[in-house]
Amino acid sequence: MGQNPWFLGAPLTLGILVLAVAIVGVALFLWSRRSSKILSRTDSGASAARDATLVFRAEHRGSSLPPANFVVSLPDDEGTYLIPLEGDAGTPGEPISVQERSLYIGRDKARAQIVFADPSVSRLHARLVEEVDGMFMLHDEGSASGTFVNDERVDLQPRHLHSGDLIEFGRQRVIFHSAALFGDVASLHPQD
């Protein structure tokens, strides 16, 4: 009583099996398509990098220099620093010590030693190299927004830095300061 004959049970079981196999098959197909797309994302990295970086041009921002004769407290008077200028007023921020002979500037912590979390800064933006003691060269690394020193673009050839130079990485601005070099931040305001 209550039991199906054997010849009814077999087709039912078979049907359930076929359905289960179909569901698993569809799931595997969808998963494989998704996986291949994720895998390939690394292959078209050039486009992905372009879209993530905001291309910035200074025309969108009023030109502003830091206040004349501003004072920054440096931890070591003999050292080399990048002094960030913050906001439209260019208020000097916390000095960033340059301690390596070659370092990268960018948005990607995995690639750059000096990191600016700003979308106008490329993941890998520029490279600062101390060629000989006290002589620093700034290379642009093919950044989307460009690297500028005193309003001049650093193109395929690196640029020799002087203390007091105003450097722009996208919309991020810093002043290069090196005690070993002539010049200082006052050179930004020659009229003063």
């Binding site: 797309k37 895998l39 990295g45 486009s47 969108h60 106008s120 690394e141 093919g142």
Partner: protein
């Protein structure tokens, strides 16, 4: 994927295909228009613009490029002697318009677009381009890139930087020219000479002669980043321009395209259809 049917025009047949890839927005725009010059000759204007910029502004820029380039070419009422100059000027003016539209609206900061535009007239090609949207020519069974990529990698390699180092560089695809990022742009009318390394000709001075049956292809970087010329060559044997464009987009998707992909294919009337005898659909 969206595919247009093949249109049989007076001087060539053409079609386009497009896919959004994995992106949220389709920022590629394309246009193909048959035009008549002031001296009564039939020509075809075709272009692809690949927009960039946050807040969906990439599509605003690429749409503007299509609309303005077409409008400025028409407004100049060029004849067959100055249509190349009209095309270049149209891109320059479109650049200014896109730049002006980006001012005063923070959400439009960084809005810009590539633009590769061609005019086919009297079996000669006029090219004007900015960015890395490519133009190719298939002559016989030889496919070659005509446009010059305005990328950092291309400039660095031409300047003598080590090729292998640059090809692996994370910024290899960074564009050096756009429409709209700055008020003016240097529009490139040069094309790569066949088999002569980095040598170029200039379509403004000497439009590139075409032959009956030649096929022109424009494509956004969604295709060009993924597939080498030798890999896409067999797709040209798949039939009429609509079938070729569809095949190329499908191949890009199969190769893992995540970016928007757009392909425009134009085949000049006459001549023997290019084909490999063993390829299905050839001949």
């Amino acid at each position: 994927m969206t595919t247009a049917q093949t249109v049989r025009g007076r001087i060539l047949s053409y079609a386009a295909a497009q896919d959004i890839g994995d992106r949220a927005d389709q920022e590629d725009r394309f246009l193909v228009r048959e035009i008549v010059t002031a001296d009564g000759k039939h020509a075809v204007l075709a272009l692809i613009a690949d927009g960039i910029g946050g807040h969906n502004q990439g599509q605003t820029a690429s749409e503007m490029a299509c609309e303005r380039v077409q409008g400025y070419v028409a407004a100049r009422e060029p004849d067959s002697s100055n249509i190349g100059l009209a095309l270049r000027s149209a891109l320059e003016e479109a650049c200014r318009d896109i730049y002006d539209a980006s001012l005063g609206d923070p959400s439009r900061e960084g809005m810009g677009t590539t633009c590769t535009a061609i005019v086919v007239l009297d079996q000669r090609l006029h090219l004007a381009h900015v960015g890395d949207t490519r133009a190719y020519l298939l002559h016989g069974d030889r496919l070659r890139q005509l446009s010059i990529d305005h990328t950092w990698a291309e400039e660095a390699i031409r300047a003598g930087f080590p090729v292998e180092e640059i090809r692996k560089h994370p910024n290899r695809g960074v564009l050096r020219r756009f429409l709209g990022i700055e008020p003016t742009v240097e529009v490139d009318t040069r094309y790569r000479l066949d088999g002569e390394g980095d040598a170029t000709g200039d379509t403004l001075l000497d439009p590139l002669p075409l032959a009956p049956g030649d096929v022109l292809m424009l494509c956004s970087d969604g295709l060009a980043d993924l597939l080498e010329e030798s890999e896409i060559l067999p797709a040209f044997q798949s039939g009429n321009p609509g079938q070729v464009a569809t095949a190329l987009v499908q191949w890009a998707l199969h190769a893992g395209a995540t970016d928007n992909v757009t392909v425009v294919v134009l085949r000049l009337a006459g001549g023997k259809a290019a084909g490999l005898w063993w390829w299905p659909g050839g001949h």
